[in-house]
C-alpha cells in the first residue's frame, strides 16, 4: 500500500529522474559524450534558471522580462571575485545569490506597485541598463573585452576540468534549488504567492501584504538567477556583456511557458526539451537558416499561448494531484 502512494509522490519522481541523470556520463556514446554532456549541463543550468524565473510569473503571476540582468550580475560577481580575490565556488555562490537578491530588492521595491504591463517594461529597461553598465564600465568589467581567465571551481583542492565533473556539480546545484523551490511552494509563502497570482484583491483582504511578498518573490528569483550566473562564469571561464542580452530572458520565459507556468515539473520538462532542441536544430537546419531556431522559439511562445496557455504540465492539474495525494496520505 505504502509503495503505490510513494510511487506517485513528486519527490520520488524527482529523485529517480536525478538518479537516471547521474548515469548519463557512463552511457556508451563514444566520441560525442563530452558534446552531449555539455548540452545536458546547459539544459540543467537552464532548468535552474527557469525554476528561478518560475517564482515570479509562475507563482505570483507577474511577467519579469529583466531576468537576464540578474543572471549577468551573478556571472560578473563570480567572475570578478574569482579573478581579483580567487575565491572558491562555495564562497562565491552565496555571495552571488546575496548580490542578486540585493539588486532584486532594489529593482523590485519601487516598481512592484505597478500594474503588470508597466512592471514588465520596467524590468526590461533594468536588464538593458545592466548590459549597458557591463559594457561601458571598463574599470569594473573590462567592458567589451570580457573577463577571460576565470579559474574553474575546485572541490577539496582538485580543480574541475572534464565535462562530467561539471555535470555532477550542476546536478548538485539543481537538487539544492529544487529543494528550495518545493519547500517554498508548499509553505505559507508559496500559498501567499499563489493567492496573489489567483486574485490580488482577495489575497490582500486575507492579510497578504502584496508589496512585501512580491518583493520577496522577486528577490528569491533574482538570487537563483544570480547563482546560475555564478556557475556559468566558473564553467565557461570567460564572460562577455553580449552573453546577457534580452534574448536570454525570452528563452527562459519560453521554457516556463512551454513547460507550464507555476508547475515545477513542467518547468524542468520545458528546459529538458527546448534547450537540446537548439543543438538538434543546429545539426538539422541548413547553413543559411541558422537563426531559424529563434523563429521557432518565437513561434512556440505564440502557439502555446494560443492553444495551451497552461503549458505541458498544467498548474491546475498539479494542484489537484497534490491535493489527492494529501488526501490518501491522510487516510493511511
Amino acid at each position: 500500500m505504502r509503495w503505490q502512494l510513494y510511487k506517485k509522490d513528486p519527490r520520488f519522481v524527482f529523485l529517480s529522474l536525478i538518479f537516471l541523470a547521474v548515469l548519463l556520463p557512463w552511457l556508451p556514446l563514444g566520441a560525442s559524450t563530452n558534446y552531449v554532456l555539455r548540452i545536458m549541463t546547459t539544459a540543467v543550468l537552464y532548468m535552474i534558471l527557469a525554476l528561478g524565473l518560475n517564482i515570479v510569473p509562475g507563482f505570483t503571476g507577474l511577467l519579469d522580462l529583466g531576468y537576464v540582468g540578474f543572471y549577468g550580475i551573478g556571472a560578473y560577481t563570480s567572475g570578478l571575485l574569482s579573478i581579483h580575490y580567487d575565491l572558491s565556488l562555495w564562497v562565491i555562490l552565496p555571495l552571488a545569490a546575496l548580490n542578486g537578491a540585493l539588486w532584486g530588492t532594489i529593482l523590485g521595491a519601487p516598481t512592484l506597485r505597478l500594474t503588470g504591463d508597466y512592471f514588465a517594461i520596467v524590468t526590461f529597461g533594468f536588464s538593458e541598463l545592466v548590459v549597458l553598465v557591463l559594457r561601458n564600465e571598463l574599470w569594473l568589467t573590462r567592458g567589451p573585452m570580457g573577463l577571460p581567465g576565470i579559474s574553474p571551481p575546485s572541490i577539496f583542492g582538485h580543480p574541475l576540468a572534464s565535462d562530467w565533473e561539471f555535470f555532477y556539480l550542476i546536478l548538485l546545484l539543481l537538487m539544492i534549488v529544487l529543494l528550495v523551490v518545493t519547500r517554498l511552494q508548499n509553505s505559507r509563502l508559496g500559498r501567499a504567492w499563489f493567492a496573489i497570482r489567483e486574485d490580488e484583491i482577495a489575497a490582500q483582504c486575507c492579510g497578504v501584504n502584496l508589496i512585501r511578498y512580491k518583493v520577496t518573490a522577486f528577490a528569491i528569483s533574482a538570487s537563483i538567477g544570480a547563482m546560475g550566473g555564478a556557475f556559468y562564469a566558473k564553467w565557461f571561464k570567460f564572460i562577455h556583456p553580449d552573453m546577457f542580452k534580452f534574448w536570454e530572458s525570452i528563452l527562459i520565459l519560453c521554457l516556463i511557458v512551454f513547460g507550464g507556468m507555476g508547475s515545477i515539473a513542467g518547468t524542468m520538462l520545458g528546459a529538458l526539451i527546448l534547450i537540446p532542441l537548439s543543438e538538434v536544430l543546429r545539426a538539422v537546419l541548413p547553413q543559411g537558416l541558422f537563426n531559424a531556431r529563434y523563429l521557432i522559439y518565437g513561434l512556440v511562445l505564440v502557439l502555446m499561448m494560443r492553444w495551451r496557455p497552461e503549458g505541458l504540465v498544467p498548474f491546475k492539474r498539479a494542484q489537484a494531484k497534490k491535493a489527492k495525494l494529501a488526501q490518501e496520505r491522510l487516510e493511511i
Binding site: R135, G146, D242, F290, N291
Partner: protein, 372 residues
C-alpha cells in the same frame, strides 16, 4: 516516467557526430549575422585553398574536407562550436574565429582539448598570451594602431584627429593603441565618441565632431556602420574632413557609397604589393567567385595552407601539430603565403607588414605612398 526516459535517449543519439574518413579542417566564423560579409570572405578563401589541395592529391593521399561552422560572432555559440570540434577526432587543427570575443570564449575549450587553432582574422591584443594552442596569421591591433598613427603623421601630416569608435573589443583596442602612439608623435586627439553596434543615428556625435573642426576622423569600427557615419557626416556639411580607418572598414560595402571618396584604411593584404603567388590567387578567386578577394579571404587561404602543411609534415596528432606550428618561429622558416611571410612569436602572434589602400573614384586602389 518511462516515456521521458526513452525520449531522452533518442534525443542523445540524434546529436551524435557523422562519421567520414577524411581530414576535416573546420572554419569557425560568423556566416550569418551582422558580420556575415567578412565570414563570406573567409569561406571563399578556405574553399579555394581546399580545392587546390585536393586537386594536388590531398594530404598524404586523403582528401581535405573544409567544414563551415557558423558562430554568429557570439561568445556562447563559439563555445558550443568549439566543444563540438574539440570532441571530433577527425579534427586536428581549426582555422577559426573572427571576433575576438568569440575567440576568447573558445580558447579555454581548445586548450582543454589540446586542439591547435589558427585565427586568420582576430586582431585583439589580449588573445596572444592566453593559450599556447592559439596562433594567428594576422597582425595585432596595437601594431596596426601604431602603424596607422605613424602613417597619419608622416604621410598625411594631420595635426588634429577625432576618433569615433564602436563599443567593442576590436574597436577599443585599436583606439587605445592609436592614441598612445599619437601622443608620442604629437598628433592632438581632439575627442573620442562612442556608438553601439546597432545604432543608425550618428548625428549627435558627428555634430560634436563638426564643432571640434578636426583634420580627420578615425573610425576603428566595422564597414556596415562606417558607410553610415561617413554619409551622415557629409550630409551634416563636413565636406573637407578626411576619414580613415583600419581593416574593419576594408569591405566592398564602402565602395558602393559615393561619399567615401578619399577614405584610406590599413589592410594586411594588397594584391599588387604581396608578392608573386598573390597574382595567381587573385585570378583564381575572381574566376571562381566573380569578385576581388578581401584580406579575410587571403589570410584564411594562408591559414588553411599552414594547417595543411602542418598535417602533411607531422600527421594528425594534435600535440605534434601544435609543436610544428610553434617551430615556425623565424623569418627563414616562415610560411611564404599569399599575404606575405608568416612566422609566429612565442605567444603565437605574428609580425606582418601592414599596407594602406584608399578609395579613388569609386574603387579600392593601393595608396601611392606605403610606409615600411
Amino acid at each position: 516516467m518511462r516515456k521521458l526516459g526513452c525520449f531522452l535517449f533518442a534525443w542523445i543519439l540524434l546529436t551524435g557526430a557523422a562519421w567520414a574518413d577524411s581530414i576535416k579542417i573546420p572554419i569557425a566564423a560568423p556566416f550569418t549575422g551582422p558580420l556575415a560579409s567578412f565570414g563570406e570572405g573567409m569561406k571563399n578563401g578556405a574553399l579555394l585553398k581546399g580545392e587546390e589541395i585536393n586537386a594536388a592529391g590531398g594530404i598524404n593521399g586523403k582528401n581535405v574536407d573544409i567544414v563551415l561552422e557558423d558562430e554568429l560572432c557570439d561568445p556562447k555559440e563559439a563555445a558550443t562550436v568549439a566543444t563540438k570540434l574539440a570532441n571530433d577526432p577527425k579534427v586536428s587543427v581549426v582555422v577559426g574565429h573572427l571576433c575576438s570575443s568569440s575567440t576568447l570564449a573558445a580558447l579555454p575549450i581548445y586548450r582543454g582539448a589540446k586542439l591547435p587553432a589558427i585565427s586568420p582574422a582576430s586582431t585583439n591584443v589580449s588573445i596572444g598570451k592566453m593559450s599556447p594552442y592559439y596562433f594567428r596569421n594576422v597582425y595585432r591591433d596595437d601594431f596596426q594602431g601604431l602603424f596607422l598613427a605613424k602613417y597619419v603623421k608622416i604621410v598625411k601630416g594631420y595635426k588634429k584627429v577625432a576618433i569615433f569608435y564602436e563599443v567593442n573589443d576590436y574597436s577599443m583596442g585599436l583606439m587605445l593603441a592609436f592614441m598612445k602612439e599619437a601622443k608620442k608623435l604629437g598628433i592632438k586627439v581632439l575627442g573620442t565618441e562612442a556608438y553601439t553596434a546597432d545604432t543608425t543615428d550618428f548625428k549627435p556625435q558627428l555634430t560634436k565632431f563638426k564643432m571640434m573642426k578636426p583634420d580627420a576622423i578615425f573610425i576603428p569600427g566595422y564597414a556596415p556602420q562606417g558607410t553610415l557615419i561617413i554619409s551622415q557626416a557629409r550630409s551634416l556639411g563636413m565636406k573637407n574632413v578626411a576619414f580613415f580607418g583600419a581593416d574593419g572598414l576594408d569591405d566592398d560595402l564602402m565602395v558602393k557609397n559615393p561619399d567615401t571618396e578619399g577614405l584610406f584604411v590599413t589592410t594586411p593584404f594588397l594584391p599588387d604589393k604581396a608578392g608573386p603567388q598573390a597574382a595567381g590567387f587573385v585570378k583564381a578567386y575572381r574566376k571562381k567567385f566573380g569578385k576581388d578577394p578581401n584580406w579575410f579571404a587571403a589570410n584564411t587561404y594562408d591559414a588553411v595552407g599552414i594547417g595543411a602543411q602542418a598535417i602533411k609534415a607531422v600527421g594528425r596528432n594534435r600535440e605534434k601539430i601544435r609543436d610544428y606550428l610553434a617551430s615556425i618561429n623565424s623569418k627563414d622558416r616562415a610560411y611564404d603565403g599569399v599575404a606575405g611571410k608568416t612566422y609566429f612569436d612565442k605567444n603565437g602572434d605574428c609580425l606582418k607588414e601592414a599596407y594602406v589602400k584608399k578609395i579613388k573614384n569609386g574603387k579600392w586602389v593601393s595608396a601611392e605612398k606605403q610606409l615600411q
